[in-house]
């Protein structure tokens, strides 16, 4: 049941804390202060993990905690407010990480009466958690251990006697602690950062939720007026009314490739002459069968597909998305959309991040072509760009840590390159341990700064490509990009706290926190936050995440890009010659730290700025690291 005495609407008003070591759980009231200062989702989790997880712990040890959280908008009818977030110290980046997924799990958790679940410790045997409205059970999961994420969901539907249950589950990769294991909710992924390995390390196979409650809002007539306004905007904007519904994210293949900003062969180039085979146009013609929506979203950007005749005939998939097409297709040097779809479905089933998997394979292909990985190292596989037939067998090896190649790549590109050595680090395409997503650093300076300074490194959701890619700001210059990137950071972290989907950022942003975002928060909660107060809250969240990273050793020298992005300009296509030189990056870093009030030498937030954000305790902590 919802907690009626919580100050704000939108929230359930309580969390579930589960001690896996002891096998116990208890309800915990959500504090008003946490909601006011950190809203929900990523912001709230950052504060909780900063307070509860000691610096320096192994992310795969019982000392780490894994938090599922919704935000106050989730479960209302506000479009795109359907996401569930998962938060922990990441085994990829060794710092705070947040990953979120659309679909239905987030709203269902709210309907069951919880804003979130905190998992701590490690279970002595495999378990899963079942929340059935107010009824909570930790159940044995030995019989589910080893199952892929699709089978485990089907098994739980049968075991629990209903398909009206939403499930988040890990696959074999999470159990085997593959560093970039993910968590699958229905067909959507809590994809990045290896948070599936964190659940695996705790022997937590799944979380199953059924809820029949509701999310209360303070003033329903006011909410209806607001919804009319937002839905009208969705219906008027070309991106949300026309393009996302028809082509989804794969439209970006032709968009980015036409600009010469489409990573190809492990980012050796950014223009792929055969990209049409991977395009949204080709995908729609060949394999898309229908369009799908997440809870309360009119955009219908998800595409359900079935492969036609060929080696992967009949494979059904919700996807692939643009990022999968980039990583499992273009980065590996082939343009077979049906291989990509089958490979992405396999990644979901086995529970590995599809971006990280494709980029790891591309990295291994380049290492093999350069003679840095021998046939012995690759278990006899002649890994070469363009070998679409090898993608699926190598994913199976990675997810099962099978053989020399599987064991090597299961550690992720950063650690694999450190093991291989011999200069392979120069083309290990990661930021802070996380591989870059399918958006160009070289062709968009502000976005490159977002990658460099992003607490998640290679994520495309700390900075964003949209402003430069749409022409809202010029992409040729570094001028003003420090403030530009910082303001986008704040839009991202605030919406990740509420939680809204970034795919409709032209409605909600896309360059800064807007009045519409703040109105959505107020209409859902009754908080009556001003635009300035929302910006301060977002900056507070961003700073505590930075402070988390500082405690783990991150400084200015880690806000970098790989040599390939700085020293090897794009070779062909419309963006030929573009790169981000060290000088360009350093200039933008100075701008960024200055705008933020961070120390330019170290990148550590100043005590003055932290205190102004109400983070006096964090300011005291940071003194130890100056």
């Amino acid at each position: 049941m919802l907690r009626s005495d919580f100050r704000y609407k939108g929230y359930a008003g309580k969390l579930l804390r589960v001690n896996l070591t002891a096998g116990t759980f208890r309800d915990e009231p959500l504090s008003n202060g946490l909601a006011e200062g950190y809203i929900g989702g990523a912001g709230m989790a950052a504060r909780m993990l900063y307070d509860e997880v000691k610096p320096g712990i192994d992310p795969l040890s019982p000392e780490n905690k894994a938090i599922f959280l919704t935000g106050p908008l989730v479960g209302t009818m506000i479009p795109t407010a359907n996401r569930i977030g998962l938060y922990a110290k990441s085994p990829m980046t060794n710092s705070f990480f947040h990953s979120s997924a659309g679909g239905h799990f987030g709203p269902e958790l709210k309907f069951a009466g919880y804003d979130g679940i905190i998992f701590e410790g490690k279970s002595p045997q495999p378990v899963y958690l079942f929340i059935d409205d107010g009824h909570i059970e930790l159940r044995p999961a030995a019989h589910l251990w080893g199952m892929d994420t699709n089978r485990v969901q089907l098994a739980l539907f049968e075991e629990l006697g209903s398909e009206e249950i939403h499930i988040a589950a890990i696959g074999p990769a999470g159990e085997k602690l593959v560093r970039f294991a993910c968590v699958i909710c229905g067909c959507r992924a809590l994809g990045r950062g290896g948070l599936g390995a964190v659940l695996g390390s705790k022997q937590l196979k799944a979380v199953a939720v059924r809820g029949q409650g509701a999310v209360e809002v303070p003033d329903m007539p006011r909410m209806k007026v607001f919804l009319d306004d937002v839905f009208a905007r969705f219906n008027a904007n070309p991106a949300t009314a026309e393009i996302l519904p028809r082509y989804g994210t794969p439209v970006l293949v032709n968009a980015n490739n036409s600009l010469g900003l489409f990573g190809y062969k492990n980012w050796q180039d950014e223009f792929y002459t055969e990209a049409e085979g991977l395009s949204g146009d080709t995908m729609r013609k060949k394999i898309v069968k229908r369009d799908k929506s997440c809870f309360a979203c009119p955009a219908r950007c998800s595409k359900f597909s079935i492969n036609g005749p060929g080696p992967y005939e009949g494979v059904r998939n919700e996807g692939p998305e643009y990022e999968d097409i980039f990583s499992l297709g273009s980065m590996c040097g082939h343009n077979d959309i049906e291989v990509v779809s089958a490979a992405e479905r396999l990644c979901d089933d086995l529970g590995v991040d599809a971006i990280e998997s494709g980029v790891a394979i591309a990295f291994a292909m380049e290492c093999h072509e350069r003679g840095l990985l021998t046939l012995k190292d690759t278990d006899g596989i002649d890994l070469r760009f363009g070998r679409a037939d090898l993608i699926i067998p190598v994913i199976e090896k990675i997810a099962n840590r099978e053989g020399a190649l599987g064991g090597l790549l299961a550690e992720g590109v950063k650690r694999a390159s450190e093991k291989i050595g011999n200069g392979s680090e120069r083309f290990a395409m990661h930021g802070k341990g996380l591989t870059y997503a399918g958006h160009s650093a070289r062709g968009m300076p502000g976005f490159a700064l977002g990658y460099a300074t992003g607490p998640r490194g290679g994520s495309h959701h700390d900075g964003r490509p949209t402003g430069e890619r749409s022409g809202l700001v010029p992409r040729e210059t570094t001028e003003g990009k420090g403030e530009y990137t910082a303001r986008i950071n704040h839009l991202m972290i605030l919406t990740d706290s509420m939680i809204l989907c970034h795919l409709t950022e032209n409605i909600w942003g896309p360059l800064d926190i807007t009045d519409l975002v703040v109105r959505s928060l107020n209409v859902a909660t009754g908080m009556n936050v001003t635009l300035d107060e929302a910006r301060i809250a977002a900056e507070r969240m961003w700073n505590i995440i930075r402070a988390f990273g500082v405690r783990e050793g991150y400084r200015r020298e880690h806000d970098r890009l790989p040599p390939r992005f700085m020293e090897e300009p794009i070779k062909t296509g419309p963006s030929k010659g573009m790169a981000i030189s060290r000088q360009m990056l350093d200039d933008m870093l100075d701008q960024y730290y200055e705008f933020r009030g961070w120390d330019k030498q170290t990148g550590i937030p100043t005590a003055e700025r932290l205190k102004a954000l109400g983070l006096e305790d964090v300011a005291r902590d940071m003194e130890k690291y100056r």
Partner: protein, 94 residues
């Protein structure tokens, strides 16, 4: 003068081809090309480039040959005989 319009996704669907040869008036600008296409293809084309609430063309990029232009600042740029114009699509996310 003759120009070629290259497109993909929704705009390609409406134009009926990945590359469309057009005969437009000399001196036609990027904005003029959009007006030409709206006259020829009607509201279906207009909905792909213009916010139907504000009436404004939304921000996206256009390439003339291999030079990139912005709808936010460059609608007045003139086309020349033989130009290939790639109409990027207004897009969120990714």
């Amino acid at each position: 003068m003759k120009v070629t319009v290259k497109s993909f996704a929704n705009i390609r669907d409406i134009l009926g081809s990945a590359e469309l040869a057009l005969d437009v008036d000399a001196g036609t600008t990027i904005g003029g090309l959009f007006a030409f296409l709206t006259r020829r293809y009607g509201a279906a084309f207009d909905r792909q480039i213009r916010d139907q609430m504000s009436g404004e063309i939304v921000p996206f990029l256009v390439m003339i040959n291999e030079t990139v232009y912005r709808t936010t600042t460059d609608l007045g740029v003139s086309l020349a005989e033989g130009d290939a114009v790639t109409v990027m699509i207004p897009f969120d996310g990714g």
